[in-house]
């Protein structure tokens, strides 16, 4: 369990850093996040709905964003702390029509993204997201009042399956009407979920819209979430969402294969990715042959 590529406990997460733009803008946002104390980040790509035009177009799923190189200031801050910035990849798919469901299937088949998030716009799609699809996060949008009424059954089944409801705080800071809509939308969810399985993330477009983890957790008191659970939305629940995304790469959540770190004779540690058993032990000529020769 110790060497799994999962984040440790007690860190702060920001699971929505838009990465649709150039790398330099993204790295500026990351320096601000690192300075404020976040250590784990997910770079997102957004797939909007396509209005059905003549004939079925071929679906092009965007490539997952590659790991962003941090600026000097961020690297120095991390070095002082002795910490690392983990970067995951995430895709947000907007579901407005039944046609968009095949996008979800294709993304899951490709298996390139660490986290899969969905933004449902109708009641049927929301219900099927909560009960059927193998996704991680359901986004609660603030641009309009909720077009559907979240049912108690759907939310309960989502929580038991391990799905998470995500709220973005940066649009609330930009715009007054979005603030009102998100508050009313999330309160409807919080009536049934009581703040369980909620995630706060920032879709910040400029570095000055990012807020520290403690401040972000305090926004949850506006959504009528109990004050003792409020910090979970930034740390504990986010980690559970990442683990849920990781479980898709395993075999039935029970088996996961990875190469081991090895300590050589010179007391050097060869990390798993570079580990190649043959190269390490070729020098030793006295070692027995790997295959037994047939006795004739």
């Amino acid at each position: 369990m110790a060497n799994l590529p999962l984040p440790k406990h007690g860190k702060y997460f920001d699971l929505n850093v838009p990465s649709d733009e150039a790398v330099s803008t993204v790295s500026k946002r990351l320096t601000m996040l690192v300075y404020l104390g976040y250590e784990i980040v997910a770079l997102t790509k957004f797939l909007p709905t396509t209005t059905s035009s003549k004939g079925k177009k071929k679906l092009i799923i965007p490539d997952p964003p590659s790991k962003v190189q941090l600026e000097e200031t961020a690297e120095k801050i991390l070095k002082d702390k002795g910490a690392e910035l983990l970067q995951y990849t995430r895709i947000t798919i907007e579901l407005a029509e039944l046609d968009d469901v095949r996008k979800v299937r294709e993304v899951l088949n490709a298996g390139v993204y660490d986290l899969v998030a969905v933004l449902p716009r109708t009641e049927k799609l929301f219900h099927s997201c909560c009960t059927e699809y193998n996704i991680d996060i359901i986004c609660i949008d603030g641009s309009e009042p909720l077009p559907y009424i979240p049912r108690h059954n759907a939310i309960k089944s989502a929580i038991t399956r391990g799905l998470f409801f995500e709220v973005c705080y940066a649009p609330m800071i930009r715009n007054n009407t979005v603030r009102r809509h998100t508050i009313s939308n999330v309160q409807k969810f919080a009536e049934f979920s009581k703040g369980k399985n909620h995630i706060m993330s920032g879709a910040a477009q400029i570095p000055m819209e990012v807020r520290g983890p403690y401040d972000v957790a305090n926004i949850n008191t506006l959504f009528c979430v109990a004050k003792n659970i409020v910090t979970h939305t930034v740390s504990k629940n986010c980690r559970a969402a990442v683990v849920h995304g990781f479980s898709r790469k395993t075999a039935k959540c029970a088996i996961y294969v990875q190469k081991k770190d090895i300590v050589t004779e010179d007391r050097e540690i060869v990390k798993g990715k570079e580990n190649n058993m043959k190269k390490l032990f070729d020098n030793n000529q006295n070692s027995p042959p790997l295959k037994k020769k047939k006795v004739e």
Partner: protein
């Protein structure tokens, strides 16, 4: 005997342009908080909290502030602080001059808030052992063009 109980909130102000430093005064900061209190909580919120809010310590070099609120309103104030973006005066109506507050510590006495700031100097920008921040002016690192909305 009736004793008035308070909460002391230690904040760091992160600013986006260097020349805002000369405008770091208590009135400017409480004015900014009052504007956003009015936006979020309306007349009731701003009228009940604003007279009980004061700046007890301000340091323009390290950008740290210690605010004092009545204990009843501490939670409400903490929910407003993430939304504070710009100050009220006419110079800052341009969206480029943004600030935001970062809460560091909440305590019942001013002494423990002060002790926290002394112990944890490395949390703030000027105290960072990454000393590049002390040499380059704070705002230039976070300069950006205003977003197209």
């Amino acid at each position: 005997m009736v004793r008035l109980k308070h909460r002391y909130i230690a904040l760091e102000v992160v600013m986006s342009k260097a020349f805002l430093k000369r405008n770091m005064k208590p009135k400017v900061i409480t004015g900014a908080i009052r504007m956003h209190l009015n936006n979020l909580y309306g007349e009731l919120g701003s009228a009940s909290i604003y007279p009980n809010l004061s700046v007890r310590y301000l340091n323009a070099h390290t950008n740290t502030i210690i605010l004092r609120v009545r204990r009843r309103f501490a939670e409400i104030l903490l929910t407003v602080l993430p939304f504070v973006t710009a100050t009220e005066s006419t110079e800052f109506k341009n969206t480029d001059h943004k600030i935001f507050f970062r809460t560091l510590y909440v305590s019942g006495t001013i002494r423990s808030a002060q002790k926290f700031l002394i112990r944890n100097k490395t949390l703030t920008q000027s105290g960072c052992r990454a000393n590049i921040l002390a040499l380059v002016s704070v705002g230039e690192l976070f300069l950006h063009p205003s977003p197209k909305l």
